[in-house]
């Protein structure tokens, strides 16, 4: 399965949540958000956050997951 790359390099997040997020779009158009600790030097995570704005188009050739979420 191809691994969709994020469209945007994470930048400052105005939301104030203190978390880094990279946005991706799944082959069927749903969004996927991948969170991680803000990088060192970007603050202590309480008041400096990063975010990527916008989604990328669906990744052509990427297979849809064979099973969905039962939640």
């Amino acid at each position: 399965m191809s691994d969709p790359a994020p469209t945007h390099v994470p930048t400052t997040d105005p939301t104030g949540a203190g978390i880094r997020v990279v946005r991706r779009t799944l082959p069927d158009g749903r969004y996927l958000l991948l969170y991680s600790e803000p990088e060192a030097g970007a603050g202590d995570g309480d008041d400096t956050e990063s975010d990527a704005a916008g989604d990328r188009p669906p990744s052509h050739g990427a297979r849809a997951a064979s099973s969905g979420t039962g939640s």
């Binding site: 399965m1 691994d3 939301t15 969170y35 099973s67």
Partner: protein
């Protein structure tokens, strides 16, 4: 795909989502859709080799983000609805995957990861709040097949409704009335009352208080509250959030110790409906509804609970707090 119908007897909106009958049901571990997509393995919902915490739109949403059909707002806001009001189901349903590890549970995650999860919840709350059609954001977790969980991988969910659901709507009315009468927040008064009484306190820190409610609906129910007034996760200071994470972890570990078995539970984050709608009484807390009343014995929502809304609880709240204090280690 999804339809909202108003129950004319209760004036409540309900979700009809027949497509959810087809959702994934207890797949084998090697086909878990919440694991990372590993080289040579089955594709999953998360097409990366590894991740920390992931959020994605539910493949089987009760409330889809985009769907065919008219704007539901005029019907939802109609002050004189017809006998049978129905409209498009629209909102957001997200899945929050706590960890790439298939095993474990929220209570077995380390405090740093739970702290990150609280920040993820905060980000989702803020971002979904910015959508005009969203009126209430509900962050929750169902744990255990007894509760209806169909995937074992540690995860929770977020529902963003286009209306305020009946329970928080009723609580908002009561909170407003309390504030008008006393000038104080009901949640703040409850925290102060529980600290003063002490008999139902399970855990107390500088910033958080965990207590069994005065009138619980589940035998070992706990409310993990912020001691200072905070309307939502978005208002937490770093130290408060870290103590909330530690308290949550301690309580969930304690639940698993209580009957020496994984405790099925519902976790509900209770806060202002959206970041733009903090009223005078919204007081942030995490409510935990554990389903066991004794080893191997479930508390059922049976006739009186389901048909009448009246819970019969077989454990005295003060005795429940005593037992919980023995197993919840801060």
């Amino acid at each position: 795909m999804s339809e909202l119908r108003r129950d004319p007897r209760r004036d409540e909106w309900l979700i009809m989502a027949p497509h959810r009958q087809d959702r994934t049901f207890h797949p084998p571990t090697e086909h878990c859709p919440l694991c990372p997509t590993r080289s040579g393995g089955s594709p999953t919902e998360i097409p990366v080799e590894d991740f920390d915490i992931a959020v994605f739109e539910n493949r089987f949403p009760g409330l889809p983000r985009e769907t065919a059909g008219p704007d539901p707002r005029p019907v939802l806001d109609d002050p004189t609805p017809p006998l049978y009001a129905r409209t498009t189901g629209r909102g957001q349903c997200e899945v929050v995957v706590y960890s790439p590890d298939h095993e474990g549970s929220l209570g077995t995650l380390d405090e740093a990861r739970i702290d990150r999860l609280l920040r993820v919840w905060t980000h989702r709350y803020l971002e979904l709040s910015a959508r005009e059609e969203i009126r209430h954001i509900f962050i929750f977790e169902n744990r255990g097949h007894e509760i209806g969980v169909t995937l074992g991988h540690p995860h929770g969910q977020i529902y963003a409704y286009p209306f305020v659901p009946p329970i928080p709507a009723r609580e908002q009315e009561i909170e407003r009335a309390h504030h008008e009468r006393t000038g104080r927040c009901l949640g703040c008064d409850i925290v102060a009352g529980e600290i003063e009484s002490g008999s139902r306190v399970v855990l107390q820190g500088d910033h958080v208080l965990a207590h069994v409610p005065f009138a619980p609906r589940w035998p070992y129910e706990i409310h993990l509250c912020l001691r200072p007034h905070r309307s939502s996760l978005a208002e937490l200071a770093g130290e408060e959030r870290r103590e909330l994470a530690a308290g949550l972890r301690a309580i969930l570990a304690g639940y698993d110790t209580l009957f020496d078995a994984p405790m099925p539970y519902i976790l509900a984050v209770r806060q202002a409906p959206t970041a733009n709608s903090a009223g005078p009484g919204s007081h942030l807390r995490i409510e935990l509804y554990p389903a066991l009343r004794a080893p191997g014995k479930l508390k059922y929502r049976a006739g009186s609970e389901t048909a009448m809304g009246i819970t019969v609880t077989a454990v005295a709240p003060e005795r429940a707090a005593e037992r919980l204090r023995e197993v919840v280690r801060s």
